[in-house]
Structure formats: C-alpha cells, structure tokens
C-alpha cells in the first residue's frame, strides 16, 4: 500500500467542465492522461506516463475502496466512486471517478478512467464515510438491514418471475385439488385468496424491479444521445437491470474519454494551423481532388504579387477566390499542370518558370492516419533573383576555368547578399589574374634563361606561399646554377687530375704485378727452406733425445763413482785407525825401550849390552812411528783427495742432471721449432695463394685503371660541355662563381700539378671543394632584403 507524503489541507477545485481522463494498463501503469489531469495533479507528463496510478493516491483514502475498485474492474464491471486524490505538492482534490475495463476484440487490455467534479454533498458524505472507515467504525460493504434491503432490491428478475409463477401455479393447483376433493368452501377460498395476495405481491415487486429502472436507463440514454456523457448512472443494482446500467456507464466513460480526446486533438490541430498561418514560407494545401483548401498569409501575399501578371492570361484570377479552385489550372506549363493534377506519391521538388518568375515548388503528399492519400501540401519559393546571379556566376566561373580571367560580375542592380558575393568573386578573380600574370612574366623570363627576376606584390595565403615558393625556386635555381657552373669547373680540373693519376696508377700497377711475381718465387724458395728447417729440427730433436739418454747414463756412472769413493774413504779410515794402533804400539815400545835404557844405565857396565839392545829397539820403534806417521799422512792425503774427488763427482752429477734438463728443453724447443716450421709452411701456402689472388686483382686493377682513364677523359669533355650550356643562364652578380674562369691558365697548372705528383710518386692529399649546399630559408631572407 503506497502512502504518498506529505499532504496539506489545501483543496484544489476542479474547474467546471473540466474532465480528467487517463488510461492504464492491466497493472495500473499510466499509459495516457489528458492535460486537465496533468494540470490539477501538478505532475508533468513524464512524471505520470509509465508510472503507477497510485502516484496520486491520497493517504486519507481507505485501502478497502481501492480493493473494491480493483475487484470490480477486474471482474469486467465499471466502478464509480468519490475519490480524494493528492497533488504533487501535497494538496488534494476530490473527483467522481468512473473506471471501466478497456477491451479490444473481447479481451481486456487496460482500464480507462474519466473523472468529473463531484457535488459538495457527495464530497461531504464520502469524507465522513472514509473517516469512519479509517477509524474502523464503518464498512464500505452494506450490512445489517441495509444489506437485506439491498439484497432484496438486488433480487434477480428471474427469481421474482419464478416465485410469481410458482405461487400462482401452486395456489391454483391447491384450490383445484380442494375443489375436486370436495373440501368446504372456506379453506378453498382462503387458499385462493392467499394465492392471489402472494401473486399480487410478487407482481408488484416485479413491476418495481423492471419498470422504474428501465425508465431510468432510458433517461440516461437520452442524456447520452443529447451529448451529456457525464450524468453518471447509479450502478448500485445487482440484477439484470443493474448489468444494463453498468454497461451504460461503461459507454458513458468510453464516450466521455473519446470526446475529451477529440477535443484535445482539435485544439492541437488549431494550434498547428495558427502556426502555419504565420510562417514566412508560402504554403498551400490541396485536397484529394486537387482543390485548394488552404493557403497561409505568406502564400496569399505571394499570389497577390503575381496576380497582375497572371491576369494577363487568366483574367478571372483573383487571390481571394482561390480557395476551392484548382491552382494547376493557372499554370502555363502543361507538363507541370498535368503533374500537379495527378495523385502525388512522394515528396517532390519542381521548378515552375512562369509569369516572369522562377518558382521552386516543394510538394509533399498528405496522408490520413489510415495511410490513405488526402491531398498535398506545397511550399512556394520565388528564386528568380538567385537564378539570375547563379547564371552570371556560372558564366564567370566557366570562363575562369577555361583560363579567361577578364570577366567580372556587374554589380549594378544587385543588393545585399548578391552584391557582396559579386564583389567578392570579382576581387578573387582579380587577385588570381594578377598572380598568374606575375607568374607568367617570371616563367617567361626564366624560359629565356634569366634567373634574376622575382615576384613582386603583396600576396597572401596560398598566393603568398606560391610567391614565396617561386621566388625561393628562382633564388635556389640561380644558386644551384652558379654552383653547378662552379662544380663544372671543379669537375674539369678533377677529371684532368684523375686522368693523369690513372696513368700513374697504371704504371705502378704493372710494377706491383712484377713485384708480386718476384714475391711468389721468393715464397717458393722460402717454402723449401722452411721444409728443410723442419727436417733439421726433427733430426736435432732425435739427437737431443739421444744426448739426454747419454747424460742420464753419465749420471748413473757418477752415482756409482760416488759410492766407490765413499767405500775408499771408509777403507782409509780403517787404515788410519790401524795406523793409529801401530803408532801407539811404537810409542809404547819407545817408552819401554827408554825405560830399558834407564835400567841399563842404572846397571852400569853390566847393562851396556842391554843398553845397545834398548837403543836398537828404540830405533825400531822410532822407525815404526815414523813409518806410521808417514802412512797416516799419506792416508790423510788420500782421504782428502777422495773427498775432493767425491765433491767433483757429485758436482759433475748435478751438472749432468742440469744437462739432462737442458737437453729436454732443447728437445722441446726443437719440437716447437718443427711445429712452427709446419705452421710457417701452411702460412706460406696461404701467402702464396694471397699473392696469386693479388696478382689477379692487380691485373684487374690495371684494366680498371685504363677504363677509369677513359672515363675521366669523357667526363672532362662532358664537364666542358656542361660549362658551355650553363652559359645560357643569366645570374645576378652576387651568385657569380668566385673562381676565375680563365681556361688557358687552368689547364697547364693542372698538368703541372699532376706531373709533380707523378714525379714525387706519392699521393698528395687532395683538396676537395666543399660540398655544394644551400639553405632556402636564409636565401629567402637575403632575397627579401633586396626587395
């Protein structure tokens, strides 16, 4: 349940005669509403269309009312009631709402709602009722006695009819039975009376149910026939008459809706017509029979202007009487007239040349909503002046295109846009003509070889660019020509030098060739020498190996000698020891002999013989000691010599080891020499090949040198030719080449130079003239300064 807030206590009154109309789909989404609805609700169309209808629901409305509404309309019956609605700003307005289902082809597709202003009494009753309902003190459904009365009133007619027939038939049947059975008169009469009374009662009820509502329905239908759609039918009845009344109400709602719709559409059409009346374009509308049915103000004035001319041929022409006539009748052009009389299928632009004017016609067909042809609408444009100027401009432009720039647009008699256009075109042609004249002048001078001219004048934009480019071109061309002239001279000189240099080169190439052949034979000898070298190295290697073996053997012998020396040494020591013992013995013997001598001396004469023996013994001991001393000396000498010999042998052993090492190194070096010789041999082969190819290249060089010589000669000739041709161009003083052009002095100088180089035999560094270059921007600046 949507509750829209806020609400105010301000009521908006519906204008008298205004009717609020809206359409919703089956879910209550607004699909259409009229202007009155929009205005009173305060919402815009965009806020309403596509939104749920409960947008305008007022919170004071009891939900039961809408529940009843939806139940009613969903069951296909119309609903009517007093409803309080809420405006966008919270104000409220009361309406009598009448809602009916909208069916198409027997199927309900939406709901249509028409609201009229309620009376103040209705509003007061509804307000009171809703307040009570909201306070749960009342119900919208009838209850109690009212319900029974309502139910009685709503008894279907067929029920009443059945009751009537039944009571009548039953009463008569009972009476008849009682008569037949011979009952007394009194009960029979009573039954009969009762039957009559009940029959009367049901008949009255029936009459009441039929006659008055039918009259009511007839009255309402009469109102509708009179165009009063909004005298709403009371649809409180539930019987067959009630159904009829409900149908009438649906009819009222639908008709009212359509009427409102039609009214709005009429308003809209009127607006469009008013607008059309006042547009400045001349517009006419014809019907399906090509009769003029409408012309706007502008069209009226348009035909007024032409009226005098038209009347010359068609005297009956009068603008005020054109409505209803066929305009095409006045057209002097048969083709257009025929065309204008036939049915128009699509928009068309045509031109009418008549009455001294050129008229452009924009014609469009008019169709109704069903798409049937309903006539045409035509816009009329007088394009006489435009066409005249257009033709003039066409001819001028055509002339200009074919190169004639002398034509100009006549400005007399032209005003406004065309005068401005004409003078503009004239100025344009003038600028172009001046520029082309200027360019032609310069080009013709250039054709004669004069490069000193330039474009003078104040040109702008593309012309300025052309001027700048042409002046730049001339300046650059002049510069290039002078540089070409200079270059020609340089080329002449250079080609002379090249020629001489080539001769020199040729002879040197021959020398080189012979030198190369000598080199080749030397290389062969060298190859032999290197191979020999390699073999010798191999032999030396073998010899070195054997020397090493011998030296190693020598080393072994030395170590054996050392051992032998050691043995001798130890033997000498033993001998020395023995000698020591002998010496000791000799010493002791000497001492003993001395003691004997002492004893003999003490013995006096008896000891004389003994003293002699002792002396002999002492002599022997002395000799022994002397011999031992000598042997000892000899042995010591021998030991010293053995020691020295051992040292020498050891030194020789070390020397031999060194010799072995050295011999090994020698062997290694010799191996390297052998390998190096092998590599040398390979290298020499390569050198040989290189020398051979160099020889070939030298031969080719010789040939090329000759060719170059010939080419240089020919180049020299061409350079001289070019120099002659360059004389054709006239150049400004500033651009003249700085080099002296004396051919007579140049040639011997060159020859001398070449000879000097040939004699010296060295390639002297040649001075090249700096490459030719120019800078257009700078040149332009210079040129402009000259201006």
């Amino acid at each position: 349940m949507k509750i829209n807030q806020p609400v105010t206590e301000i009521e908006r009154q519906m204008r008298a005669g205004s009717i609020l109309v809206s359409k919703t789909d089956l879910k209550g989404i607004i699909t259409y509403c009229n202007k009155d609805f929009k205005e009173i609700s305060g919402f815009s169309y965009s806020e309403l269309i596509g939104k749920s209808h409960n947008l305008v629901r007022h919170p004071d409305m009891p939900p039961e009312a809408f529940q009843d509404l939806w139940q009613t309309v969903q069951s296909g019956r119309p609903w009517s009631g007093i409803v309080k609605n809420r405006c966008k700003n919270g104000d409220f307005y009361w309406v009598r709402a009448n809602i009916t289902p909208l069916s198409e082809g027997g199927r309900v597709t939406g709901y249509m709602s028409v609201r009229t202003p309620p009376t103040r009494e209705e509003v007061a009753d509804a307000e009171a009722l809703y307040r009570r309902v909201n306070a749960n003190k009342a119900s919208l459904q009838p209850n109690g006695v009212a319900k029974w009365i309502s139910a009685l009133r709503s008894l279907p007619i067929k029920t009443l009819l059945a009751c009537l027939v039944f009571t009548s038939v039953a009463g008569i049947a009972t009476t008849a039975a009682m008569v037949v059975m011979g009952a007394s008169d009194k009960p029979t009469l009573a039954v009969l009376g009762l039957t009559g009374v009940s029959t009367l009662l049901f008949g009255l009820l029936l009459a009441r149910s039929l006659i008055r509502p039918l009259a009511y329905a007839q009255d309402k239908l009469m109102q509708i026939a009179e165009g009063n759609f909004f005298d709403w039918v009371d649809i409180g009845r539930a019987d067959e008459i009630g159904n009829l009344l409900k149908t009438i109400m649906s009819t009222q709602i639908k008709l009212g809706f359509d009427v409102m719709d039609a009214r709005e559409k009429a308003d809209e059409a009127k607006r469009i017509q008013t607008a059309l009346d006042n547009v400045s374009t001349s517009v006419t509308v014809s019907d399906v029979n090509n009769r003029l049915i409408y012309m706007n103000q502008s069209a009226h004035e348009f035909f007024d202007q032409l009226a005098a001319t038209i009347r010359e041929k068609e005297p009956q022409f009068e603008t005020d009487r054109l409505i209803g006539t066929n305009l095409a009748d006045f057209f002097p052009d048969d083709r257009l007239r025929d065309m204008y009389k036939t049915k128009l299928l699509e928009p068309r632009v045509s031109q009418l040349d008549a009455w001294g004017h050129s008229i452009k016609l924009n014609t469009s067909p008019v169709h109704d909503t069903a798409g049937d042809y309903q006539g045409r609408v035509t816009q009329w444009f007088d394009i006489t002046g435009e066409l005249k100027v257009q033709r003039e401009i066409d001819s001028i432009v055509e002339n200009a295109r074919s190169g004639d720039l002398t034509g100009r647009i006549v400005l007399e008699g032209k005003e406004g846009f065309f005068a401005t256009l004409g003078s503009g075109i004239n100025a344009l042609i003038e600028v172009v003509e001046n520029a082309f004249n200027d360019i032609a002048r310069i080009m013709s001078e250039m054709a004669k070889g004069d490069l000193t001219k330039s474009m003078r004048g104040d040109y702008k934009g593309a012309f300025g660019k052309v001027q700048q480019d042409i002046n730049g071109t001339m300046a650059n061309l002049e510069k290039i020509m002078s540089q070409l002239r200079e270059s020609g001279e340089v080329i002449t000189t250079a080609s002379d030098e090249i020629s001489a240099g080539n001769n020199n080169l040729s002879s040197r190439t021959e020398q080189q060739a012979s030198a190369l052949q000598e080199t080749a034979s030397s290389m062969e000898q060298l190859t032999g020498t290197v191979k020999n070298n390699a073999e010798n190295a191999q032999q030396a290697n073998l010899l070195a190996a054997s020397a090493r073996q011998t030296a190693e053997k020598g080393g072994e012998v030395v170590s054996q000698a050392v051992q032998a020396m050691d043995a001798i040494n130890s033997s000498s020591n033993q001998i020395a020891e023995i000698i020591g013992v002998i010496d000791e013995i000799a010493f002791q013997t000497n001492l003993l002999a001395l003691n004997a001598s002492v004893e003999a001396a003490r013995a006096g004469d008896q000891g004389r013989g003994f003293a002699v023996v002792a002396t002999e013994v002492r002599n022997l001991a002395g000799r022994s000691a002397t011999a031992a001393k000598e042997i000892k000396g000899l042995i010591q000498d021998s030991a010293g010599k053995v020691k020295a010999g051992t040292e020498l042998v050891r030194a020789s052993g070390e020397t031999l080891a060194e010799i072995v090492l050295s011999v090994k190194k020698v062997g290694d070096i010799i191996s390297e020499i052998a390998a190096a010789s092998q590599e040398q041999s390979v290298g020499i082969d390569l050198v040989n090949q290189a020398v051979t190819s160099m020889d070939e290249v030298t031969q080719q060089n010789a040939a090329l040198a000759e060719q170059t010589s010939a080419a240089a000669l020919s180049m020299n000739e061409k350079a001289r030719e070019m120099d002659g041709l360059m004389g054709f161009f006239t150049l400004s003083k500033a651009s003249q080449p700085a080099l002296p052009r004396a051919e007579a002095t140049r040639k011997p100088a060159t020859t001398a130079l070449v000879q000097a180089r040939v004699s010296s035999g060295t390639a002297a560094p040649r001075h090249h003239p700096s490459p030719v270059s120019f800078n257009p921007v700078e040149d332009e600046g210079d040129q402009w300064e000259e201006f």
Binding site: F587, L591, L594, S597, R602, R618
Partner: protein, 181 residues
Amino acid sequence: MPVQNEHRQATAESLTAGSRNEYLTFSLGDEDYGVDILRVREIRGWEAVTRIPNSPLYVKGVLNLRGTIVPVFDLRLRIGMPMRAYTKGTVVVVLRIVGSDGDRNIGIVVDDVSDVLSMDMAGIQRVPDFGSRLNTEFIFGMVSAGKKMIMILDVDRLAPDHGNGGSSCVRPGRNVNEEIS
C-alpha cells in the same frame, strides 16, 4: 846425610873426572831439556791423575806408582812456560829427588821424550847470567848436541824448598861453576 853427600860427591866426581854421563832428553815446545838418566825412575805415558785440593797451579795431582804416591808437576808451569794441552805423546817422567830429608819421587809432565844421549861432562857449560830478573834456578847447565842446545835440569830444585837451605849450598851447578873457574 851420607847418602846425599855420597851422591854429591859422585856427581862432582863424575864431572870432575871428565867421564861420560847419559842424559834423558825431552822437549818442551821447541826447546830440548835433559835430565841425568840415573835420576829417572820410570818413563810412562800420561794418564789421568788424582787432583789434590788447595795445591799450587803447577801441581797436577798425584799418581800411584806401584804403591808409592808420587806428586806430578807440570814442568811448563813449574818453570814459567805457558800451558799446553796434553796429547797422546805427552809423557810423565818419574824422577828421584835427593833432598835434605831423604830421597823422594816426583813426576814431571813433558811434551815429548826424545832420546838417551851420552855426553861428556866437560861439554856442560854454565848458564849465562841474564841478571837477577830471569829465573834460571832450575837449569844446571847447557850442552850442545849436534845442532841442538840441551838444557840440563837441576832435578832437585824442581821440588819445592822445605826450608833447610841445604839444597842451595849444595847446588851442583854453582859448585860446578865454582869448581870450573
């Protein structure tokens, strides 16, 4: 002291008689010395001796000679010559010394023994007087044998004086010289 006197007399006798005497010669360095062979008891090689504490430097010690304790002097030190290391050739000569209190034996260490020479007593000459500073008290006399000069030692003076003064008065050298002159 009849024995000593006898000996003295014998010596003087032999000297004066002009008879030949035998001398044992030995060397100290380059010089040759001689002793009367009759005073020699034994000649033996150098052996280690038993050292005597608190003895003079020239006393090397004592040795046992078949039961008799014999003091051993280094002759070099005794006669004021420089010391020399002992070798295998170093010899100890055991001498009989005749003192006022009887005979006794001493050993002297010499570099080497040379020979037994028989010399005429008449060839012995007095030691020349070099002045009082030169100590020549152990030299009895000098004799030339071939190219060499041999100094004859006064053996009895080698032993230290025992204070009886007898030895000085019976110095054979002086007696000899006096007798000769």
